[in-house]
Every structure is written in structure tokens, then in C-alpha cells.
Symmetry: C3
Subunit: 326 residues, 3 copies
């Protein structure tokens, strides 16, 4: 996952991690320093990983991680080089440990480390409106415009020839070249991801970013959430109309056209050359192929193969929808 923004606060001693998990384990590893928390396949021997479902057992067998958050029923799948840290709820514990590596990724309070663009070097380079605020770790290319009252919070890279409207808020976002983001947008805030716990839900970290490729247009009043463990991506030359909500981890391909008030739930992947009509909704964790057309108002609850036209709730073949409903 490409992520230029979130600082890893590791290494962290395994003894600290064990203490935080509140588990009993032989503490002979207490001086071992852990660099990062990663998934089973990308973790190295200085990392901790997590293993919560049997469907990953084959990956688990080959993990290079030295420590793994898991449950009793799964620990036998781990190699000898990896010590199982048995916990009650793997995902909650993963969230806790990720939080100590990436403490800045949990809460999205307003950025209190910003200054007026007039007090930055951008003042001679960017065309900007009244009351524009710029956070830390921001880069802006040539020939860009930023409208009134817009807040470029921390961790934003904007390419060349971009136009940002007024009253928008952007953070943890990489915007490539020739992108237009219109008014009243909120881009790069954490997604709607948490563990429901009675009386006090537990938010999990969002260490992904929003990546907006060349030539895109984002309509007014959009909300595009950054990813949790991967990035939210809008592909090249994809246009979004007004009042669209793109949840965390969603990936949209190139040359797609998405009409007003569409909502795409978390982790769904949309192909290239896709057209989505107004107010359509797409459930989470789906795969929508290339050259798909989704009629306005549709509710998509299953994967859609390439080159298909669908409509309805739930969405089905558009000819069948229109035949049944003529």
C-alpha cells in the first residue's frame, strides 16, 4: 500500500505489546523490537501480524512474522518461527496494536496545526481565495487554484493544474494533475469503521489515503473517506457528480462516470468505463467489472461481470428489469 503520510511510531518492544494485550505469556522476548504490524503475507521477522480466520491458513503457514495475534483454534497453523499471541478478539487486538504504531490514524479532530496560506511559500505560486488554511506536510504543484474557506489539512499532495473549490476540506490525500474538486467536499477523513462495543464503540485505525488520479472531477458536497488498511482510489478521468459518498477502501477505475447522490460502500472495487446512474447504491466488498452500466436508483448487492448492464433493487440484467416492469 502506497502511503506517504502516516508515520510509523515503531519500533515498539514486544513486551509493551504483550502488556497492552493483557495476556499471559513467557516474557523471554521482552527486548525484541517490533517494527510494524502487517498482514500475514507481507510481514517480516521484525513485524507482528494477525490471523483471524481459517480461510487464511495457507498464508499463515508461511508467514515470516515473529509474532501473530490469533485465537487458540488457529494457532497450530502458524510456523514454529512465529509465536502465537492468543487473544479473545483478533480484530479488536489488531486494532489496538495498529493504534500504537499509528496513533495519528484514529481520530480525525480538526487540524490545529494549520496556518493561513498567506503565511506560506504557496502564496506566490497558488491562486487562492479568502481564508484558505494549509496544514503541515502539504505540497501543491504549478498552476493550481484553491477557493475561499477551503482547508488543506495535513498530509496532502496536489499536482499541477488542479482546481479546488470553496468550503472544502482535504487531508491524507494525494491528488494528481489536472483534477477539479468542487465546493463543500470533505476528502480524506477516516471511514465509518469501528468495532461495535456496547456503550462505547472502538474505532479502528485508518492508515490508508485517498488517491485521486489525473483529470478527475469531484462534484460538490462529496465525501470520500480514506482507506483503513488500503487506499481509496479514484481512477484517471473519472467524473463524480454532486452529493456522492465514497466509503473507505473503495477503488474506482478509469474513465468512469458516476451521477448524483450515488453511494459506494466500503471496500468495493469498480472497473474502468463504468457508468452509474443517479442515487444508485453499491454494497460493500463487491467487484463491479469493466464497461458495466448501472441504472439510476439501482441497489447492487452482488458482483457484476464485465460488459453488463444492470438495473433494479437488487440490480439484475437491465432487459429483464424493464421487461418485468414495463
Amino acid at each position: 500500500m502506497f502511503n506517504p503520510f502516516f508515520k510509523n511510531h515503531g519500533p515498539i518492544k514486544i513486551s509493551e505489546i504483550i502488556k497492552l494485550l493483557n495476556i499471559n505469556i513467557n516474557n523471554k522476548y521482552e527486548d525484541k523490537e517490533i517494527q510494524d504490524i502487517k498482514d500475514l503475507s507481507s510481514a517480516n521477522n521484525n513485524d507482528i501480524t494477525f490471523f483471524h480466520s481459517k480461510k487464511y491458513k495457507d498464508v499463515a503457514k508461511n508467514t515470516k512474522a515473529s509474532f501473530c495475534l490469533t485465537i487458540d483454534a488457529l494457532k497450530t497453523f502458524l510456523p514454529k518461527s512465529c509465536l502465537a499471541l492468543v487473544v479473545e478478539n483478533v480484530l479488536v487486538s489488531t486494532s489496538k496494536i495498529t493504534s500504537i504504531f499509528y496513533p495519528d490514524s484514529i481520530n480525525d479532530n480538526f487540524d490545529d496545526n494549520i496556518i493561513s496560506i498567506s503565511d506560506t511559500n504557496f502564496k506566490d505560486k497558488v491562486s487562492f481565495g479568502e481564508n484558505v488554511l494549509i496544514g503541515k506536510n502539504v505540497s501543491i504543484g504549478n498552476n493550481c487554484k484553491i477557493g475561499h474557506n477551503t482547508i488543506i489539512e495535513k498530509n496532502v499532495i496536489i499536482g499541477d493544474d488542479c482546481s479546488i473549490g470553496s468550503n472544502s476540506i482535504i487531508r491524507n490525500t494525494l491528488v494528481k494533475n489536472n483534477v477539479r474538486i468542487l465546493d463543500n467536499c470533505v476528502i480524506g477523513k477516516h471511514g465509518f469503521g469501528f468495532f461495535p462495543i456496547k456503550n462505547k464503540n472502538l474505532r479502528y485505525p485508518h492508515i490508508g489515503i485517498v488517491l485521486i488520479e489525473d483529470n478527475c472531477e469531484i462534484g460538490c458536497s462529496a465525501t470520500i473517506d480514506r482507506g483503513s488498511m488500503s487506499n481509496t482510489i479514484i481512477g484517471k478521468n473519472t467524473y463524480l457528480d454532486n452529493q456522492i459518498h465514497i466509503a473507505h477502501n473503495v477503488k474506482i477505475g478509469e474513465n468512469s462516470i458516476i451521477a448524483g447522490q450515488v453511494g459506494i460502500a466500503g471496500s468495493s472495487i469498480i472497473g474502468n468505463n463504468v457508468k452509474i446512474g443517479g442515487q444508485a447504491g453499491i454494497s460493500g466488498h463487491l467487484k463491479i467489472g469493466n464497461n458495466v452500466e448501472i441504472g439510476g436508483g439501482s441497489g447492487v448487492i452482488r458482483d457484476i461481470p464485465d460488459n453488463t448492464k444492470v438495473m433494479g433493487y437488487p440490480a439484475k440484467n437491465i432487459r429483464e428489469f424493464l421487461r418485468v416492469n414495463k
Copy 2:
């Protein structure tokens, strides 16, 4: 109804009220002072009430109010201690009289009685961004954050440990402790309530508030309208995703989870531990039980009992929905 905000401009002489209603009645009561306008059951003998439908006839029989707005066909149900003021349209007249008791509750023009937070006592207590504005009758607890360009208009109480985002507008709202309200929200404005009258609709008063209980999270670009004659309530530890609209008088229970772009129409009551999928809509005046799950995209037009999973438009048992639509 708990309401710390709207000032009652009573007492008002009954002769003034009668004049405003433009009705003919024996004026021997002209010096009688009326304290308030209340519903049939809660009114006392210094109050005026209203009675517009036969289904309230049993309550009407026992009202303690001295005066009652009603129609000719209903006036015989009232006790002798209550004088019927017969009008053409009870609700329109009720609206008119409520307006003179609560003149500040009709129009929601921008609050022109606000000042920069830097000029208030909150400046040493609250962590705040640029251009934050504070209205009259505002209270803010300890350890709170308020983002850039946010306007806390008149009549707002915020508890401890709350985080308000940027570009949000709040009025007539009571926020308890440890609540997060994200960016671009508008909370506490009047609801979409008016009497349709050709060429010039008549807005009715909204004397309710918005009450947000402990540990809630309100996503970006939410609109939550205050109540008309009761309060709009978001229960403890309930989380709302982005772009959600909550209409006036809605009450949502505790530990509920509401996904993006959901809309809940006026006066509906949602239970505890309810999960609502993205883009679902709930019609007005419905009762959704506890532990209910409503699938994404659903349109709910009937009450839903406890412990039920529904999906579809109109929403029905989710197993049936999936069976019919497999």
C-alpha cells in the same frame, strides 16, 4: 419535553389571542392571562390547548386547559371548565398561537448575535480553529475541540470531551459528553414542517431541540433537524456515517449504527441496537423496534417489530427478499 432554550413570551391575554384568531366570542375573559400552549393532557388551567381529531376525545374530556382551539364537531367533548375556541383549521391556528408564545422558533435566519470565540471566555478552555463563532446562551464543557469556520449559534450546550469538526453549524442543540460531530454538518435547524398554502406556505413553530447523548459520532455533511413539538434525539453510543438526514422529532435509541446517506423522515422512532444499511430510507411516524437490522437501500414504510431483519422496498423479511430475488 425537556427544552432549555426557547423562551416563552407568555403570559398573553386571552383577548389578544382571540383577536389574532379573528373569531367572534363573548369577551368576558379578556383579562385572563394565558401562560403557555400545551397539548390536551399536559395543559393546566392557565394554558390554552388544541383538539383537532376525534381520536383524542378521551383525553379532551379531562383536559385542565381553560381554552381549547377546536372545530364545531368536536367542541362537545370538552369539559365545562374549558371554553372551545372554534376555528376553521385547528393546526393552522395552533401554529399561529404557538408563534406568539415562541416567536423565535419560526424562522432560522442566520444568527447575527454571535462573536468570535477569541472574544469569549471559551478562548482559554476550548481548543479551537480559525474563524470560530459563538452565539448567545452557549455552554461548552472541558476538553473540547471546535474546528475551523464552525458556527455554534445560539442555544447550544456541549458537554465534556467533545470534538466538533470544521465548517459545521449548530443551534438549539444539547450535546452530552464524548461526542464527535464531524465536518460540514448542520444540526438544530427547524424541520421541514409547514402548512401548504397556495402561493405562501405557513411555517409552523419548531420549539423542540436536538439532543445528542454520550459517545455518539455524527458523520460529515449530516443534517439533523430539531423537533417541532418534541425533541429530536440521538441515543447513547449511536454512530452516524456521512450524508445522513435526520428529520424533526425523530428519536434514535442507543448503540445503533446508521450507514451513509440514510434518511429518516419526521417523527419516526428507532430502537436500541439497530443497524441501518446505506441509503435506506424510513418513512415518517413509524416505530422501528430494538435489535432491528435494515438492509442497505431499503425503503421502510411500516412499523418493524423487535429482533427483525428486513430488506427491500418496501422492506420485508430479509430471507423472503433474498429468496424472491436470488
Copy 3:
């Protein structure tokens, strides 16, 4: 089309236009000055027009335009007085030519020609909040209010007794008298109109305006786009709830009531006394009659005659919808 705002940069020599189209044609007309680009019926002999579909052949026969963008298969329908300029894609070429007559109508970058209302003559006439900005070519009537952080960009006329909320952005809009526009609205930006071209879509001009008639109310977080070749119109005493999206060229009649989160796609025409329930969506280019009621959540994909109640997706007679779904 009434349009007080967009400046026509004509006349433009036909030789320039021909060069821009990159076509080969006898250049004996090169000094002829073209005043404007108009449709087939309204163009005069100093104008250029366009003809892209056989269904307009009867109008084409009688056009008074001297030049017409068209394709080879259609050019024979034109009168002798009109020279066919044969192009590959009539609408793309029309867009290009319109762009040179109306260059200000393509991109809606933030208005960098605005000043604080305190530095205008409006400061003594209008009741205004903090940080209000006013563009060029703006007129505001008597007894108006404009809330905090609101930006009245270029080309706005506001009548008497209007109330604009906070954090709203308005341009290219004519607001009549006694209109309320609430918070967080974006009104008058270009619509979602462009020619999809791989890797780099081509936006077409939007030379229409938004026209909001007397006594309207526009709820919080609305987006109302201006028209492309006609105006977007909200009729007298029509009320819009929160989070509504009105696309370009839509025309809504008088005394209509539109509930929260409704979306109306481009070029649809809605009659008088129409009621639309929450979250309903109306496809583009439809005609909804007078006195129509559309149930909440409906998806309207066909015209609806006067005096009809519909519900469902696709919307059908409401009795049938409720019978089938009881």
C-alpha cells in the same frame, strides 16, 4: 432563454470558426461576422446553428441561420441560405463553438474577483454575518440577510426580503422575492454535462442560470446546478427539504413540496402542486404533470400524467404498488 449573465464574446469571424473546426471548406465567407450560436429555430442570418438528429429536419428546413454544424447525412435538409459545416460529431463541435462565444461558461473555478461585503455598498443595506464575500455583477434587494461565510459569487440577483443562510455559495442565479436559502447550499454551478472522451472528458458550456421564484425555500446542503442551454427553474412557493440535488435544466412548477434527499436528473420538468417523498429519484428528460404525488423512495423512469399518485421503483400507480406489496 432569459439570461442576464453570460457575456457573448461575439461577433466572431466565420473563418475563425472554420479554422477551429479543422474542416476544409471554401473560404469565401471568411469575413462574415457571426453574432451568436443558437438552436435551429431561434438563429438569425448572422448566427450559426447546429443540426444533429433527423427528428429536427422540419425545423432545419426553415432555419434562418447562415451556417449550420451538421453531418453529411443531414446537410440536404438545410435551405440554400444555410451553409452546412460538416463535422464528425455535431454536439462536440457545437460545444467547442459555444465555448468561444461564451468562454466564461465552461469552468467553475472559484471566483477570484470577490471582495468582503464590508467593502461594498451593500454594507448599509443588507444584514450580513462574518466573512461574507460578494462577486461582480451582484444585486441585492431590500431587507435581505446573508449568513456567515456565505459567498455570493459573480452574476447573482437577489430580490427583496430574502434570507440566505451560512456557508452557502451562489453564482449565476436569479433569486426573486421572499426566498429562503438555508445553510451549506451550492447553487448555480455548472451541471454534470460533458462528452465522455477517453483519458480527458470534454466539458460542454453551461450558459443557463438558476432561477428561484418568489416565496421558495431551499433546504440545507442543496445543490442546484444551472442550465446548459436553458435555465434551471424553481417555481413560486415551492419548498425543498435538506440534501436535495437538482440537476441542470430541471424546471419545477409552483407550490410543490419536495422532501429530503430527493434527486432530479437533468432536463426533467416537474408540474405545479407536486409532492415528492423523501429519497425519491427522477430520471432525466421526463415530464411530471401537475398535482402528481410521488411516494418516498420511488424511482421514476417514465413520464407521469397530471393528477396521478405513484410509488415504487420503477414508480407505478400507488394503489397497485401497495396492493402488490401489502
